[in-house]
Point group: C2
């Protein structure tokens, strides 16, 4: 198991989204010696993709993932607009030299209770995006989200389900394993083994706070919650995962309110002590 030194860490820009724009995130990573970055598309578009790609390259950062493609159920049926947007996301990931494009697949279509139907739309959308992504060599990483987001964000909710989809779709598609979403799963270690190095594209960390006050924006800093993060990292690294440890914390009442350089210092420290 590796020691999580700053150069093995990546900053997901959502972690300091209230404090820093993308340019500041890039500078911050460079200043603190953090090895990589994972931008969200909104901040990427704000800065401009080419400019961002150049700054990231100049700063010597890796890109552990681009957040996010997916949202296939946004318009009910799978529309050309949704597919086109996913292709653009693939292109952006390529331009950034990203390790993968992370997919948050979307929840139930508006007004629908048909989760099987949503899952069918998602699978079709992934297949179509994958066709394009393969042609440009960009790995697609499905991020299974915690079941509490099944209705409104992602109807792919376990690593088993993710890998079942990957098995159907073939090469070039795998998983982004975020400890927040999977820590509770009694078969997570077994499914990580099933994934193997060839399906493990990203590893995200934060923590589950015992008294979670908001389902979306109350995630904890590593070490402040109940997730046995080292056990999960050990699992993915035992399969040969050698990508960055990406820190993605949504925290409206705590970390988003702090000095971003303090956030960087703490996450680096917790990389060493709590991951």
């Amino acid at each position: 198991m590796r020691r999580v030194t700053p150069d093995l860490m990546s900053l997901n820009t959502a972690t300091v989204k209230q404090q820093w724009n993308l340019e500041q995130c890039i500078e911050g990573c460079a200043r603190h010696g953090v090895g990589g970055i994972a931008p969200w598309r909104d901040v990427l578009h704000e800065m401009g993709v080419s400019k961002a790609a150049k700054h990231i390259l100049d700063a010597g950062l890796q890109v552990s993932g681009l957040c996010r493609g997916g949202w296939f159920t946004a318009e009910g049926a799978l529309t050309p607009a949704v597919i086109d947007d996913n292709k653009r996301a693939v292109d952006e990931a390529v331009e950034l030299g990203s390790a993968c494009l992370v997919m948050v697949v979307g929840g139930l279509a508006d007004g629908s209770k048909d989760i099987d139907g949503a899952r069918a739309i998602v699978e079709e959308g992934l297949a179509k995006t994958l066709d394009y992504a393969r042609s440009v060599g960009m790995p697609i990483a499905i991020e299974p989200l915690h079941p509490m987001y099944a209705a409104d964000r992602a109807c792919v909710n376990t690593l088993r389900q993710t890998l079942d989809i990957c098995d159907k779709l073939g090469e070039g598609i795998g998983a982004a394993v975020d400890v927040y979403h999977v820590w509770w799963d009694p078969e997570i270690q077994e499914q990580i083994k099933r994934a193997g190095k060839e399906r493990l594209y990203a590893f995200h960390v934060c923590d589950w706070l015992l008294e979670t006050k908001d389902m979306l924006t109350d995630r904890g800093m590593m070490g402040d919650g109940v997730i046995d993060i080292p056990a999960l990292r050990k699992g993915v690294e035992a399969q040969g995962f050698d990508g960055l440890v990406e820190v993605e914390i949504f925290s409206a009442t705590n970390w988003w309110k702090r000095d971003p350089d303090e956030v960087m210092q703490v996450l680096i420290e917790r990389g060493a002590t709590a991951c």
Copy 2:
């Protein structure tokens, strides 16, 4: 598939916990023609077990379940106090003539991040309780809780996991399937089939609200959320489940604030139209 008439429904007392004590719940069920009741132990103790049993019998109600045994991790290791309390819960369920004793198994032990350890404690606790429950003929129903409660309420979080435990422990133990906890699970129908009639002891309904504002106390009335309840009921009834449809809604800002007779009217109506 049955028509859900009031006589096939059961009122879990938590649904009107802010408005009615157990005696009022019993009277309310009788007045509205609801066929059964599922008391929580706190309100049961408040009324007195023998008195409650007599009133329930006199009112002609069935008892679809006693909520709840379990909480095996409450004291870290499995203590005699915890086992004794579970045995008392079994006795109470017997005295009420309950269809089963519902188990909310407990989450992580205080200060622990060891979910595998918690699960081992739970399995031991279930085994010991089951030994006793078998001797008095009371079925034990494990209620897998939604993964968002894995840390603080129950580390048994899927029907698959529940049935794996049942397979290890043998006869007399099964599942309480609550649509709120399992609706998101991509293999729920498959696992319901695996359970079969002999492992399906209870069926609970409420709904998942699209904008859930509180992880514990913002459940919806059947029909107000996104769960395809009829599909799940069809699944359990296809296996031969013929117990009551138990309504269990925790709703601090809505249903707990309404006139309880109105709550009864609405849940009866929704039994017919949304279950």
